[in-house]
Every structure is written in structure tokens, then in C-alpha cells.
Subunit: 158 residues, 2 copies
């Protein structure tokens, strides 16, 4: 990379024109923060943002550990730690795979489902706040643009 000239000062770079990573980070971290606070208030105070990787990717009829790790783009070992923790805290359970008795599927328990419903409710409420402030057309526009950018990434990776 050519980077002649004086170093770009983080402070001044931010002031001039924040990069798209910084712009995405703010709203995304607000979602994470709200979900974290809201779940704690709803009694799910033993789940951490990292566990979203499980809740977001697990299928309604359960998922294999390998598939969860692939979808979350983390190692099988890291996903194993997350799943172990959630199993110990009653959010998921391991059941034998119906199609392959030697294999195991990770399934949401009732408490796990409750957590998913609560998290989706919190995010929906936050999106409604944003919609109230900026108007539905602009939020629709944001959704469309994020979907398009996300699509670029998905197509690059496949």
C-alpha cells in the first residue's frame, strides 16, 4: 500500500469524513447494546453478545455444531465453547440427529426460544424508534442499501 506523506491522524480522519466502518459500527453497536440491556431486564442476564452467533444461526429444528461454526465464521472449537455455556445455562440442548444417530444436533430449549423472541422484540422496538425519528421511507432506503451491500459480500464469498 502506498502511504507516502504524514500519517493520517485518527482524530482528524474521523473529523473530515468518517470511514464506512466507523459509520456502520455506531448503529450496529447500538443494536448490540440495546439487546444486551433489554435481555438483562427480561431476565436473560446470563447471555453475552458473543452468544448471538449461536442464536442467529441455529435452525428451528436444530443445527450441527459444524454448520453453526461455518455460518458464524468462527472455529468449531470456539462455537463449542459458546454452545457448552448455553447448554449449561439451559438455552440449548444436544439431541441425537434423526438422520444420523452418531451425530448430534444443537436445539433451542423453551428458555432458548424465549430469549430469541425477546431479542427480536427489542430489535423491532429499536427499529421502530429509528423509523419514528427518520420516517419509514428513509428506513426502507437504509434496509435496501444494507441488503445490497450485504449481497456483495455474500456473492464474493460464495
Amino acid at each position: 500500500m502506498s502511504s507516502a506523506g504524514p500519517p493520517a491522524l485518527p482524530g482528524s480522519a474521523r473529523a473530515e469524513k468518517p470511514n464506512v466502518g466507523v459509520l456502520l459500527r455506531g448503529p450496529f453497536q447500538e443494536v448490540v447494546r440495546r439487546v444486551s440491556v433489554g435481555l438483562a431486564e427480561a431476565g436473560f442476564d446470563d447471555v453475552r453478545p458473543a452468544h448471538t452467533a449461536v442464536f442467529q444461526h441455529i435452525e428451528a429444528d436444530g443445527s450441527r455444531l459444524t454448520d453453526l461454526a461455518d455460518r458464524a465464521q468462527i472455529t468449531k472449537q470456539s462455537m463449542g465453547y459458546l454452545v457448552d455455556y448455553l447448554e449449561q445455562h439451559g438455552y440449548v440442548e444436544r439431541r441425537p440427529d434423526a438422520s444420523d444417530r452418531r451425530a448430534t444436533r444443537i436445539c433451542l430449549t423453551e428458555r432458548g426460544w424465549g430469549q430469541v423472541r425477546a431479542a427480536l422484540g427489542i430489535i423491532a422496538a429499536l427499529e421502530q424508534e429509528w423509523t419514528d425519528a427518520l420516517g419509514q421511507p428513509r428506513i426502507d432506503q437504509l434496509r435496501e442499501l444494507l441488503t445490497d451491500v450485504g449481497g456483495l459480500t455474500a456473492s464474493e464469498q460464495s
Copy 2:
């Protein structure tokens, strides 16, 4: 929260209309992934995404640990761990504060500046890819919408 009726299935909820958290997560994680891969290729293979919290918030003339923790919204202890690691790996150094000899400022080293320049270059290249694919007007629109949503959050917190 009222959640009568059958549980919202994660899979089907995603298929119908992904929530705004999921929509933000894709592009944001792509930035994180690209920066991580690009930094490793550029020889900065000992920094982790978590360290962004330091690099993003540190001021050009150094910052106090307390201020870094406040800005990153993590505990002083967590920020201390990140800074210790980066100090051991030559990215930052602690210097006495010019205005208060008992206090310490965390400052970027030459290697730290190199990392910041590399990361900014990687993000700029990714944004250029998105611009090439979607066109400058749509990326400008995305930047504007993310700035507006980010502004809501900032004003709520202040």
C-alpha cells in the same frame, strides 16, 4: 413483552424480513473481516478485532486510559488488558501526561501508526469496491443514513 402465539422461528423470521440488526451485521462484519485479513497480510498479524477499540478512539497526542474506556464503552479494566497487550506488542506506549505528571497517556508508536494507516487503507479499498458495484450516489446515501441513525444514538446517550 407480549409474545402470544407460536415462537418466531429464527429461520423463517430471517426469510420474511431480516431485522435491522442482521442487516447491519453483515456489512459491519465484512469490514472487520477484511481489516483482519488485510492487517495480517501487511504484517500486523498480532492485533485482533477487539483492539480496534483502542485504535479507533486513541487521540493523535495520546489518550488517558479512562477516556479510552469511556469512548469504547467498556470497563477501565477491559481497556487496560487491551492496552497492555498492545504495549507488549509494540503498538502503543505509556508516557507521562504533560499536564499532570502523575497521570499517564497512552500513545501510538511508529508501529501503531503503521497499523492505523494500513487499516484505514483497507477500509477505503473496501468502500471503493462497494462504490464501484453500487455507484457513488447510493454509497453517499448509505453514508448519510448511517450518519443520521448514528446521530440518534449519540443524542440519546448524551
